[in-house]
Subunit: 272 residues, 2 copies
């Protein structure tokens, strides 16, 4: 999916919502456990209920690998349920030496046919480059994450006065284009989003931390939006676990719709 296709989808749906598909077997409604593949049934219903309100889905691999081979099958079936015009992000946070990263890239881009994959930058350029060899596919590099541990290394100051996450962004932006690379930027500190926009005005940012993690959608959006929208805001638990009973999908749809309405309102006051 190209950047302009993604932008068109955002304009059409008046939404920059990404729904995190993190199906925890201990949290999904109990009645689903009677199905042959509860994880898939849960996702299928969530997708059906939310697909009109979001432009991306982000399955986190951990929730599928936890079930071994069966989990991979649930993931594959889930990905096939997602409409073609919606961006699919494998939240895998991979990164390894070149030939190994190349294999991961094939897995996520070819075998699973996802549009995008999240990648950890610690091992440097050759751990990321193999993911950039697939036309129309996206690498989403961890820059500033939304968890407490982001303070341990990402925000440390380097000898050159930059923080590590700034350095990661500045260095890695030359590895590809804004049509290939996005960045994960946590929603906990809007001011940092403003600073990041001065380094990368054009790149899309994947912003987790709104919803269960507490970030404020309006402030975050105003800090991150650019003239091609340029942000995808992810919510996982607040949507998919909006209700625990038989109405879980309906409740998820309502919560996704609520966020989409807020996004439409924000977009209306922003020049695209």
């Amino acid at each position: 999916m190209t950047r302009s296709e993604l932008f068109n989808s955002i304009r059409k749906k008046k939404s920059y919502l990404c729904v995190g598909l993190d199906p925890d077997i201990d949290r999904i409604p109990k009645f689903l456990l009677d199905y042959e593949d509860p994880i898939f049934e849960f996702n299928r219903a969530i997708i059906e209920a939310t697909k009109d309100f979001c432009v991306a889905y982000k399955p986190n691999l951990a929730f599928y690998e936890a079930h071994g081979a069966r989990g991979w099958e649930s993931l594959q079936k889930t990905l096939q349920e997602i409409p073609e015009d919606i961006l699919t992000i494998a939240d895998a946070k991979r990164g390894d030496i070149g030939n190994t990263s190349g294999l991961y890239a094939k897995t996520f881009f070819q075998q699973l046919n996802c549009h995008a994959v999240t990648v950890a930058p610690y091992m440097g350029e050759d751990s990321v480059r193999p993911f950039l060899n697939f036309p129309g596919k996206w690498v989403i590099i961890l820059a500033l994450t939304s968890n407490r541990g982001a303070q341990d290394f990402q925000t440390m100051t380097l000898e050159n006065s930059k923080t590590l996450y700034q350095q990661v962004i500045e260095k890695s932006r030359s590895w590809g284009t804004a049509d290939q690379i996005m960045y994960v930027v946590g929603a906990t500190r809007p001011q940092e989003l403003v600073n990041i926009r001065t380094i990368i005005p054009d790149h899309f940012l994947l912003i987790p931390g709104v919803g269960a993690q507490g970030g404020d959608l309006k402030k975050i959006s105003e800090a991150g939006l650019n003239n091609q929208c340029g942000i995808l805001v992810n919510a996982s638990r607040s949507i998919i676990y909006a209700a625990a009973g038989e109405d879980f999908a309906e409740a998820a749809g309502r919560e996704a719709h609520r966020l989409q309405v807020q996004m439409a309102e924000i977009l209306q006051h922003h020049t695209l």
Copy 2:
């Protein structure tokens, strides 16, 4: 597996060799493709031929995930073939927010029953801690890797005059004990191993980069050994692809034996 059990195994076998099980379907002998599960057949033969000469096996997850659900089955069957007294390392390089890392930990430590897993430090303490809640299991944190990209961020100097990888080691060593945490330290620069030993004299180091990547076993060992051995040296491609024909396992065994003999010689001149 405890640190003393690992040390006993090293003394008994006179080896600190770790064999990387990275079965690339394009590189394994062609005749194996006739088997129902070529990856497993390859690994099974490699394990049978090398198990007397090594103290650890390290399957890299990328090579299994590349085959989806079938790959996970090959991995599970492979792990069951490994004798119980040999350390099993899931080379997964995972790291995510707390609840997600917790799921990965369950996957590798409980579902796959590995002894150890490699973890990327970029997301900080809460991305690593969930892996430390499993008695007798090991977290192996990426510190200084052996690839070219290690120079991009890991060796950058921080405001406090330490390199990022030194900072990763100094900070993370307080998250657990030397009975729970090991570090990945590439074999490309022996002097850096000497420096690392001043920060963590007791921890085990997993050292890739000997063999196909060119590190010198003797120099590396002398720089890294401590009084409980304290190093595991990994070789993958130089062992498992030592020959491409029907004699691949025999050749792998010969290469593993050759390294074990060198290690026995090195250990003989070192006070344990």
